[in-house]
Symmetry: C2
Subunit: 256 residues, 2 copies
C-alpha cells in the first residue's frame, strides 16, 4: 500500500509578489510537484523554478484538479496554484468536488491555503467600498442559469448590499454587465459610486471610478472586478467609501 | 507649511505570522508610528518592537483612526493596524469617513493595504464553502437597524447566496444568531451545512461543523465567523464544499 500524499491548494494572491503570504511561499517551496501553468503566475516564478511542474491551459481547470489529486494519491507532495484566494471563484471547490467522487480510502489529504483575493485587493485600491455588508457574485452564465443571476442581482440590490461583480464580461459574454446595470438601477440611484479594477496589483493595473448611471461596459473586461456601492457609499477624494453603519449608535463598545 | 505624511492602513491577517503579507510587514517596518494596541496583534510583535506606538482600547476605533490621521497630517509615517483585511468589517472605512471630514488641503495621503481576512481564512479551514456567490453580513445591530439585517438575511436566503455571518454574537447581543437561524430556515433546508470558525488561525482556533437545524448559538462567540451553505453545499469528509456552478455546461473555456 502506498501512503497517500498531500495536496496543497495554494492561493498566491492577486498578482504581486509582495501579496504572496509566507505560508503560500513555504508550501510552494515544499512541493515536489507544482500544477497550474507557470505562465499565469509570473509573480511566483522564483518559488517554483526548477520544480517538476504540470502546465494545463485555461479552460482545463478540471484536468488540473484531477491531475493534482492523482499525483497526491500516488504519495507526492503537490501544490495546485490558484490565483487570489482558492476559495473565491477559484480552485478549492473544484478540487473538493472531485475529491468527493474518490473512494474514501484513496483520498489524499487536501489542505487549502487562503490568499489575498482579487476582491480584497480591488477593494483596498478603491479605498473602502466594502465597508458594510456585501454580496460577491459572478456574472458568468456558463455554469449558472442567467435567471438565477438576475434573481441574485435583484435580491442584493433590494437589500442594499454592496455588490462585487466577478467575471463581468468576456469576449463571448458581452451583454451581461449592461443588463446587470439596468437591474441595479431599478433599485439604486444613478449616482451610486462604482469602481472598476482591472488586473489588480499587476503591472497592467487600471482603476476607473464612475457611477452606476455612467458605468461603461467598454471599460470592463474579463480581468476586471466591478464594485457597486450601496445607498450610503460615496466618493472621498479618489476613493469609494461605504460607511460601516447607519449611525444609530454613538459608542459601540465593540470592534467595528 | 508642514508636508503631509502618509497613513498606511495595514491588514495584518487573521492571526498568524505566516499570513502577514510581505507588503504589510514592510509597511510596519517602515512606519515611524504604529497605532492599534500591540496586545491585540501578538503575531506582528516582531515587526513593531521598539517603535513609537499608540495603544487605544477596544471600542475606541474612532479615536484610533483620528489619532492616525492626525499623526500623518503632522508629516509622520503612520501605520494603523487592522486585523484581517482593513476593508472587511475593519478600519479602512472608518479612516476614510474621517478623512472626508478634513479640509482637502489638510488631508494626508492614505494607502490601504489588503490582508487575508478572517473570511478568507475561515473558508479555507472549512474547505470551500464560498465556492459560489456569497453574501457577507454582520449580525451586529449596534450600528445597523435590526430590520435592515433581517431584510438582508431574507434576501440572501431567498436568492440562494452562501452566507458568511460576522459578529454573530457578543455578551450583550445573545439572541441575534438564533433569530437569523429561524429566518434562514424559512427558505433553506435544515440539513444545510454550517461551519463555525472561532479564532481562525490563532492558537485558540476551533472549528465546528454542523447544520442549520442543529446550529447551536452556545458554540458561537464574538471571535467566530459562521458560514451557512447554499442549496448545493454539502459535506466532503471534514470539509464543506459549495460547487462552483449548477452544471448547465460541460466545458466553460474560462477560468472558474
Amino acid at each position: 500500500m502506498t501512503a497517500n500524499g498531500q495536496l496543497f491548494v495554494v492561493g498566491v494572491g492577486p498578482g504581486h509578489r509582495d501579496l504572496v503570504t509566507p505560508q503560500a511561499a513555504a508550501a510552494l517551496r515544499h512541493a515536489e510537484v507544482v500544477i497550474g501553468y507557470a505562465g499565469y503566475f509570473p509573480w511566483v516564478q522564483d518559488l517554483i523554478q526548477g520544480k517538476e511542474w504540470l502546465a494545463l491551459p485555461l479552460g482545463q481547470e478540471k484536468e488540473r484538479a484531477q491531475a493534482a489529486l492523482e499525483y497526491a494519491r500516488q504519495g507526492r507532495q503537490v501544490a495546485l496554484i490558484s490565483s487570489g484566494d482558492p476559495g473565491i471563484y477559484a480552485m478549492a471547490s473544484l478540487v473538493l468536488e472531485m475529491l468527493a467522487s474518490m473512494a474514501e480510502d484513496r483520498r489524499p489529504e487536501v489542505v487549502v491555503l487562503p490568499g489575498v483575493s482579487a476582491l480584497n485587493a480591488a477593494a483596498a485600491l478603491l479605498g473602502a467600498p466594502l465597508g458594510h455588508d456585501f454580496a460577491a457574485m459572478s456574472l458568468s452564465d456558463l455554469l449558472t442559469p442567467w435567471e438565477t443571476i438576475e434573481k441574485r442581482l435583484r435580491a442584493a440590490a433590494g437589500a442594499d448590499f454592496v455588490l462585487a461583480l466577478f467575471n463581468p464580461k468576456s469576449r463571448r459574454r458581452d451583454w451581461q454587465l449592461d443588463r446587470a446595470r439596468e437591474i441595479l438601477l431599478d433599485q439604486r440611484q444613478g449616482s451610486t459610486p462604482v469602481g472598476i479594477v482591472r488586473h489588480a496589483t499587476r503591472p497592467q493595473q487600471n482603476i476607473v471610478l464612475t457611477t452606476l448611471a455612467d458605468l461603461d461596459a467598454a471599460k470592463v473586461d474579463m480581468f476586471s472586478i466591478v464594485i457597486v456601492g450601496n445607498s450610503s457609499s460615496r466618493f472621498v477624494g479618489n476613493f469609494i467609501m461605504t460607511p460601516r453603519g447607519y449611525e444609530i449608535s454613538v459608542d459601540t463598545g465593540e470592534a467595528p
